[in-house]
Amino acid sequence: MWETFIIQPMVNLLLWIYDILGHGPQMFGLAIILFTIVIRGITWPLNASQVKGAQAMQELQNDKEWQDIQKKYAKDREKLAQEQMRIYKDRGINPFASCLPTLIQFPIIIGLYQSIIRAMAATPLDMLNLARTVYPFQNVANIIPLNSTFLWMNLGRPEGIPLPFDVSFLPNGFPLLAIVVALTTYVQTKLTMPTTPPNPNDQAASQTAAMSSSMAIYMPLMLGWFALTFASGISVYFITSNLLGIVQYAVTGRANWRNLLPGGNKSTPTKK
């Protein structure tokens, strides 16, 4: 199932892009970038619904009726939940709309990682698996093995710029790409966070805000660690995907640039 619906299409798409690019040096890196753009294009509506859902949820925090029920049913959580669901229904808001694209991202990341490793075919068994993965109509005998060189990197190995001295915890050298991955992830996460702090009476909103804050810390660290540890091809995907995400938020006018500034999200909440 996973192999048929995720890995095979991804590997074949990667190989197809690599082939039409001319399958020389640098081309596998470009293929990953183009592949990411395609995946981002396919998931654009989902991401847009995430942004829209998050925006609607944010606006709801400032809604008079929403704030009133927080106060009115502060001691009756069951009733509060019922009222919240009623408002969601009345306003046509899906509270889970902002979660779905994030959940979809995970299989894509894992699938892409496996696809890159599969396409790089570093061992005989990997090569044999690659032969199995290729669709019969693809003539890839002339493009295998892939050229894994991209800029200063070998896309099948963790990235690092050699240092003139040994650092035991940086066996691959200075992890430039991992830092860029962490930074772009941080920027993208911060841009999506609400500019207004939650109503202190609104438990759900407070928890969501706390979760967002945690995400802004943990996600860059986790993806940075991935970039540090795994094949650098995955880092190229992360960076491209993050930059496209930032562009998407900017184009749709929903990027909260103030969040990037110290104290930028400390503005006073407004009431409708």
Binding site: F106, M127, L128, A141, S214
Partner: protein, 368 residues
């Protein structure tokens, strides 16, 4: 009360988030087929008259071919930085050479009798993993590495000259016709090297990756590749396509008395009469893709399949015997005396021995 409940929920959310992120990390880690601590491809195998040498994961195992018992393992203690899977080779001066994958990409020399190191230190000058076995020629070791270099060492493991840069990853053992050294590469090219000068002529592009060694014949070599072609290449670089298989050719062709045996990933075994250029039989298709090279012993042709079968055929393709070994058979079968050794991948055991009639003599599973 509300405060405590709220704080508890908040903590739960944080815990859930951390669990989610950790799960993602574990999932991605589990997907990293190339991690050094995992056995990520099939084993290598060699044998002399008394012992089999199995390169499998963290160790090389010497196994008595009569009893099937372990004689020694190298290294004695597991080192997670070392993975062996290239076929080890025995040299005429009593060394067992084996290359590994791992942080140091070690090429080691072991005493086949004791399992102890021969060299003062392993050779660690290569950048990539060792997939192909070395060639011993004129008292020198020609060791192909996946970093694209052919390393030249003396029999004590010291580099005697600069490595020859050939370009693509070298996964197969070089061969020699006594004058030249032939090295195949995954970048589709066959290199012909003059060992006297260390120089290589313009490489020959065969149109597909070449994971197998050439077979040396009269006046040249026979090479199969992912182009599905079998080509004959002369030392002067002239080459011609002799025949085309139905799928990629992985294993080395085997030449025996004017007949070239080879197989493809479609699972077809071929027998080409070199003189006439005609196939000796219609397509013979055992039960699965064939990666390993056919082994010819007297009038019997042994072939192993990915489906885990070992077959003995006569020269007319009649099946003499067939056994289901289990697991997947990718490793070249090896003969020790009259005992046929096969090393399955992902089977209940790591090595099995058969006599000439197909009767299983023993199986070997390393003790932990």
């Amino acid at each position: 009360m509300l405060f405590f409940r709220s704080k508890s929920n908040f903590n739960m959310k944080k815990i859930n988030l951390v669990i989610l992120l950790a799960l993602g990390a574990i999932l991605l880690s589990a997907c990293s087929g190339g991690r050094a601590s995992l056995v990520n491809t099939w084993p290598g195998l060699a044998a002399d008259d008394v012992q089999a040498y199995l390169a499998s994961g963290s160790h090389i195992y010497a196994v008595d071919v009569v009893t099937g018992k372990e004689v020694w393992r190298y290294p004695a203690e597991t080192d997670s930085n070392i993975i062996f899977y290239a076929n080890p080779i025995l040299t005429s001066d009593g060394q067992l050479l084996a290359g590994s994958e791992g942080n140091n990409h070690e090429l080691v020399s072991i005493d086949p009798e004791t399992g102890k190191d021969n060299w003062a230190a392993p050779f660690t000058g290569a950048e990539g993993k060792w997939v192909g076995s070395p060639l011993i020629f004129n008292g020198a070791i020609y060791a192909p590495n996946s970093d694209g270099f052919l390393y030249i060492l003396d029999m004590n493991g010291e580099q005697v000259s600069d490595p020859i840069e050939l370009g693509g990853a070298l996964w197969s053992a070089p061969v020699t016709d006594g004058s030249y050294i032939y090295v195949t590469a995954l970048d589709h090219r066959l290199h012909i090297i003059n060992p006297a000068t260390g120089s290589a002529d313009e490489p020959i592009d065969l149109g597909g990756a070449i994971p197998g060694s050439p077979a040396v014949g009269e006046g040249g070599v026979y090479v199969g590749s992912f182009s599905s072609n079998i080509e004959f290449v002369s030392p002067n670089g002239n080459h011609e396509v002799l025949t085309t298989a139905s799928n990629w050719i992985w294993g080395s062709p085997t030449l025996d008395n004017g007949t070239l045996y080879y197989a493809d990933l479609d699972g077809t075994l071929y027998s080409l009469d070199i003189a006439s250029g005609k196939q000796n039989w219609d397509a013979v298709k055992p039960d699965g893709p064939i990666v390993a090279s056919p082994l010819v012993v007297g009038d019997q042709i042994y072939v192993v399949t990915e489906s885990g079968s070992v077959l003995a055929l006569d020269p007319d393709a009649k099946v003499i015997w067939e056994k289901a070994v289990g697991g997947k058979l990718y490793t070249n079968p090896v003969l020790s005396g009259e005992t046929l050794l096969v090393a399955p991948y992902k089977a209940e055991f790591a090595l099995a021995a058969y006599d000439a009639t197909g009767k299983q003599a023993w199986t070997f599973t390393p003790e932990k």
